[in-house]
């Protein structure tokens, strides 16, 4: 079976930036989100990603950068090569690939 390698930026706002590479099985037609979900189930459940609808591209929650381009992880196609996945650079980082994208009036400040 072919493989894709996701090189993922991890950590929180105060941490030194680090990346982790994960090899995932690749099947034509899969999305980057499929790969990230595979990593959480089979390798590391602590990888933080944000998504809700999984495949329909209606929740618009899974925005990340893939190879420097802002995309929805659910519509970006997984490819049988190395792909770089990073959090959005223009939003406050929460953890790993999760950024603060909630509208300001819909957040709780604790």
């Amino acid at each position: 079976m072919e493989k894709a390698t996701l090189v993922i930026r991890r950590g929180g706002p105060g941490d030194a930036p680090r990346t982790e590479a994960h090899e995932v099985p690749f099947e034509a037609g899969q999305s980057v989100l499929d790969g990230l979900r595979w990593i959480r189930i089979h390798r590391d459940p602590t990888l933080a990603i944000r998504y809700s609808c999984t495949n329909a591209n209606t929740c618009k929650e899974c925005m990340v950068q893939v190879d420097g381009e802002t995309v929805y992880a659910c519509t970006a196609r997984l490819q049988a090569r190395e792909m770089r996945v990073e959090p959005l650079p223009n939003k406050p980082l929460v953890r790993d690939l999760v950024t603060d994208i909630a509208p300001p009036g819909e957040r709780l400040r604790t």
């Binding site: 929180g12 099947e27 034509a28 037609g29 899969q30 999305s31 959480r40 189930i41 089979h42 459940p45 602590t46 990888l47 933080a48 990603i49 944000r50 998504y51 809700s52 609808c53 999984t54 495949n55 329909a56 591209n57 209606t58 929740c59 618009k60 929650e61 929805y72 659910c74 519509t75 196609r77 929460v94 953890r95 790993d96 999760v98 603060d100 994208i101 909630a102 509208p103 009036g105 819909e106 957040r107 709780l108 604790t110």
Partner: protein
Amino acid sequence: MSHLGSDVLVIGAGGAGMYAALEAARRGCSVLLAERSLIGRGGATVMAQMTVAAALEDQGRDHWRHHYADTLAAGRGLCQPALARLLCEDGPRRIREMDGWGVGWAREGGRLKRALAPGHDRARCVYVDYLNTGPAVSKTLRAQLNRVPEIRRVGELRVTDLVVREGECVGAVALHVPTGRAVSLAAGATIIATGGLTRLYRRNSASLNMGGDGYALALAAGAELIDMEFVQFFPIGHLAPRLIGMDPIMWDPFRYKLGGRLLNGAGEEFVHKYGATDAGAYVATRDLATYAIEKEVAAGLGSPHGGAYLSFEHCSEEALRAAGGPVIDRLAANGIDLRRARVEVAPMAHYHMGGVRVDAAMATRVPGLYAAGEAVGGANGANRLSGNAITEALAFGARSGHCAADHAQGIARRADAALFAAGRERLSAGGRQPRFNAAARIQALQNLMQDYVGPFRTQAGLVRALEALGAMRAELDAGRPSAGAPFDTALADWMDLEAMSRVGQCVAQAALARTESRGAHQREDYPATSEGWRCSQALALDGGELRIERRAVAA
């Protein structure tokens, strides 16, 4: 610990929750709308593809009583009449209100376009083109919310416990997801609007937060669940080839508009062999079509990925374009030309007829605790009619908001910290190094539910599922991470697993007890429908054990 207070707490910001918040605010209440995802983004409403059933009485062409009759017939004798009537009678008012708010229902001349959906006696379903009903409904309700200062909206706030004092629900404890901190939520009345449980199944059209957490909250608070054995499988969910950016329910609008042909692996029509009609028209109800496809697969006549073929090869390019609009281009980007190739479809868990047991005021048996939308059980009996889900979200949302507001106005809110201590302690329990991966366990649970508690059931399979679910629950504590980390997805998985395993037990126990086949509940060992089983089953916790009791269905 942070603390928030409101007259009415609404848990879940899908269609039902947003409508409940609007209605409670209209009655003069302060409202906290708490959502574990982002407001108006998670849940099922936003994913609705097309039909919204409502008997709009313009020009005397329809009456809610006709819609009611169809709903009862589809429910195979188990609809709670008061709930079904509320859905059908109040639905048109909500559709008109949404129209006034600019949702954009498709129009023909001055009139709202109506589609004929399976199980309806006439064209009754309004929609927003193309495959856009859910996003439009969500967006419209969000726009209304933004105009009401009495409604505080907080996303990324996951309710983990309802707080019950002297038998009354007085609020909740929640996890603030971005920080991992506990938040107490005091409320005069609380509405569960968390949707259904379809994520319990391997093949589903669910979003991440449809793992039945609202059912688990209701059970733990002392409320009853009803009709839990009735899980609706949408017969023609997309199976293959793999598509991105498309909801698996996407073929529904195509079938409404174009008919389409359902074929087995040998390329033959087959639905008629199981007592239903298909043959180019989309009229077989969901339970019958699911039955036909699953039986064909079991007989070795499935498509390569284990479903059936759906073909639009006989349609012209113009007809396809008129029906699908921009969706045709999205299909092309996925390498699919419907004139040249069939797609594979299969039954997928899509909706749950069961849920929290409420009266016609949407009140549970726990004072101060209400439910709305798909979280409610009973309105749709053993099988839901196409188009009733969004209508139910809006009508039940409005009713629950109204009744919860009236309840809350007579209540002095309790905010003493001691009330919330137990919920807070539960959040800080657990270890830093969980001994299993809850994300992997969830996948195992989904396989188990699909294989043994899916569209077809046997005593042996259900017993096996209950044993496995019991074993999963016995091991839960070993895998629990303690709260405190920002956006802790491992903790979220663990909480989902806790709720999903409990709710899975409810479905399997109710399915094991019901020794007949009816609607969405099909027992291979009891294939006939039995008049003696024309009743519902209610589940409740009694000293930590699930108890099941029969409940009569009112005539």
